[in-house]
């Protein structure tokens, strides 16, 4: 029984991460991991240590330092919930490979555990980046005993599974009913995104219904109680409460019951997950790929045969395919939306007026630099651009034998990749307006971000031209095991991160000068990238993609 589960999990992971094409440059990734990850951890530790230290001492004065632990767990939970939605939808429902496993003599939960492996790896990676630095910073500030780190390790192993199982159970339940819908692709997307929006909506409604005066009253009451604030803020998600409590009392025996409570919650959610898998999963998956029927009316037929220019028709074709293919929609459109949505949620989670006055209290120069780095993180990995050629898969030949002018083809691909990331960018701009960012900073930021987006599009497009993934049978494969875009995005973040750090620490106070310097830097790099693209990407490059 366990053997079969292990075999299925191993095969599924192998399918996820192995590549059919020759990978002679894997050592580069290894090297980048060795260099970049410690680099980012050091930067994060540097940046967050002083913030955490200040908050810790402030809270310790009123005996409420455990609130910091609670906030950390809530933050991790929010991030894991969002990412679980994407990874579970992709792995459980948008990947067609499940049809190959259904005929095998396996229990649904065995398939489910196999399918869960990849989303869980993501969850662990995310918590490793957030939780581990936090654990060590908090531990050293509070002079924590060794047991604190032992509990920390147990929590690191157990905690990421809880948000995962909750999301999986919700999605399995919802997807069970998608099968009866007519247009299955569309329903899959609506149901998936809908469940996510539902969770956000509930969160927002809960927050909106709290009136400030009553909140302050409660706050004062809880303030007087030991670990009162922790209890108050983690009320919405008890595992965060128990996690924080177990760490807070790691030095004494009272940490143990909290840890036991968390393990009990973990066991219950894990059992629920297996139960839901038995009852809903296969029912939700079977028959998902079948199509619909219907004859077009004369009017609809005429509407669909309108004459358009080559450029317009090509752009529309690409956009339609992205929107209609669940895997593309999730990776190219929905996933980039998560970061801005996440920021918006944090805004609503904010109990006071702290964030909404952020724009007016931060120094202009620092505010602009923070916003600039926001753009880099948000726009540097552009899934639409790094799959621009690969998305065509078997249909790529059509780009070559149809009489499409080469510059039209490249322009259409770049334009689609440029436009799609603007959706999350518009959302984050609205957040910017909400937090009262001064208008001149806002305009400068939008301008430089629009230029940077162009640079990111070209970089990601070049990645796809020079290391495309053309031979896929399932759209999900396009995003499996492609680490280059991720690393190039890290490199971009590192390069602009260093520029930003240098500017942050210089004596230049004038924000316009900062804008000008960054504009020149981004502009120059864009020009280099554009020239490189023109020189290196020709019709012959596309003809030789296969060889």
């Amino acid at each position: 029984m366990m053997r079969n589960t292990w075999i299925v999990t191993k095969i599924m992971l192998k399918m996820q991460y192995s590549s059919t094409s020759k990978q002679s440059n894997t050592w580069i990734y290894g090297l980048l991991v060795v260099i970049l990850i410690p680099f980012f951890l050091i930067i994060m530790m540097q940046v967050f240590r002083s913030i955490i230290e200040n908050v810790y001492h402030l809270l310790a004065e009123v005996n409420q330092e455990s609130m910091l632990l609670g906030l950390a767990f809530l933050f991790i939970t929010a991030v894991l919930l969002f990412f679980s939605f994407i990874t579970i939808l992709s792995a459980f429902y948008f990947s067609d490979d499940i049809t190959a496993y259904i005929p095998l003599p396996l229990h649904p939960h065995q398939l489910l555990i196999g399918k869960a492996a990849n989303p869980l790896i993501y969850n662990y990676l995310i918590s490793a980046v957030i939780f581990i630095p936090f654990l060590f910073i908090y531990g050293s500030i509070s002079n924590a005993p060794i047991l604190f780190y032992v509990y920390g390790l147990i929590l690191f192993i157990v905690f990421p599974i809880i948000p995962f199982t909750i999301v999986a159970v919700i999605l399995m339940f919802v997807m069970r009913y998608v099968n009866i819908a007519k247009n299955k692709d569309r329903s899959k997307i609506f149901m998936g995104a809908g469940s996510l929006l539902f969770v956000i909506l509930i969160n927002v409604l809960v927050r909106l219904n709290l009136d400030d005066a009553a909140l302050m009253n409660t706050f004062t009451v809880y303030m007087q109680e030991q670990e009162g604030i922790l209890k108050m803020i983690t009320m919405i998600f008890p595992p965060a409460y128990f996690g924080a409590l177990s760490l807070h009392f790691a030095g004494s025996w009272s940490g143990l019951p909290a840890l036991a409570a968390l393990l009990a919650i973990f066991t219950i959610t894990a059992l629920l997950f297996i139960l839901a898998g038995h009852h809903f999963y296969l029912k939700g998956v079977r028959g998902m790929s079948s199509g619909s029927k219907g004859k077009l009316s004369e009017k609809a037929s005429h509407k669909l045969t309108k004459e358009r220019s080559i450029l317009k028709t090509y752009i529309l074709k690409d956009i339609k395919i992205i929107i209609r293919t669940p895997a593309f929609l999730m990776q190219c459109v929905v996933q980039p939306l998560f970061f801005p949505v996440f920021i918006t949620v944090i805004l609503f989670l904010d109990l006071g007026e702290g964030l909404s006055s952020l724009g007016s209290i931060t120094a202009e120069k620092n505010l602009f630099l923070i916003l600039f780095m926001f753009s880099i993180i948000m726009l540097s990995a552009n899934a639409t651009a790094f799959t621009a050629i690969s998305r065509d898969g078997a249909g790529r030949k059509i780009n070559l034998f149809l009489p499409i002018p080469f510059h039209h083809l490249i322009f259409a691909k770049l334009l689609v990749a440029y436009l799609i990331p603007l959706i999350p960018f518009i959302l984050i701009t609205c957040v910017g307006i909400y937090v009262n960012i001064p208008i001149h900073i806002l305009i400068g930021w939008i301008g430089i971000s629009l230029l940077y987006n162009y640079l990111a599009v070209i970089i990601n497009f070049l990645i796809d031209v020079f290391s495309p993934k053309l031979h896929w049978t399932d759209e999900q494969e396009l995003f499996k095991g492609r680490f280059t875009p991720f690393f190039i995005s890290l490199v971009q973040t590192a390069v602009f991160g260093i520029i930003t750090l240098v500017l942050w620490n210089t004596n230049i106070k004038n924000v316009y000068l900062i804008m000008l310097i960054l504009l020149i830097a981004v502009g120059a790099l864009t020009d280099i990238a554009k020239t490189y693209l023109r020189k290196k990407v020709t019709l012959e490059t596309l003809q030789n993609l296969d060889s």
């Binding site: 199509g291 219907g294 669909l304 045969t305 220019s309 339609k320 293919t325 078997a394 249909g395 003809q543």
Partner: protein, 241 residues
Amino acid sequence: MIEISQINKSFDGKNQIIDNLTLTIPDGKIVGFLGPNGAGKSTTINMMTGILPIDKGTITLNDIDIDKEPLKAKKIFGFVPDRSDIFLRLKGLEYLNFIADIYQVPEEIRQEKIKYYTEQFAIDHALGNYIQSYSHGMRQKIMVTSVLLHDPDIWILDEPLTGLDPKSSHALKRMMREHADKGNTVFFSSHGLEVVEQICDEVAIINHGKLLFYGTIEELQAKYQTDQSLENVFLELTNDA
């Protein structure tokens, strides 16, 4: 007319996939392109259509060099590729309209042609559905229909009859004949020797990237002094017998 002149192709710089191939496909004829798997048929067709660059030699379509004036050359041929599982997320009609836009076929003409050809191939009822929901044969039919929309002088078809039902296969063969009889060129690759025997005016047989024979079936039989079927001559010629 298609003129292939001393073309060479190698993917690794060592093994010649196409070795000094020269072939002229005249107007007004249906020419079948035969060869065992891996003989170089698809590579040749890919070079003819601009999908692959040519290492050495030239290919001209109605005197236009595909390498020098690719855009001009691509406008005069219609190509049905060997794979029909493309653009699966587009509806049948959307795909046809996309192709009509690329070839800039006027609205009225495209509507008229789409109606005519999709009725001929009995896929008019499915135009509002995604290609993903089509059977292999239906996908093949939509590909063939897309080629007919802009009325190209030259038809290049890679295994066009695979997966077609008898009625559609008959309709396509009739269309190929009519097109050639108007003085146009029809060039198609096939594994179905019976079909080739049935409709081709001339055949080109290649193996290991080299042309083994070009001419009529009668000339083929005369050359090998036999009255055997094309299948037997083919097997003998390509050394697979």
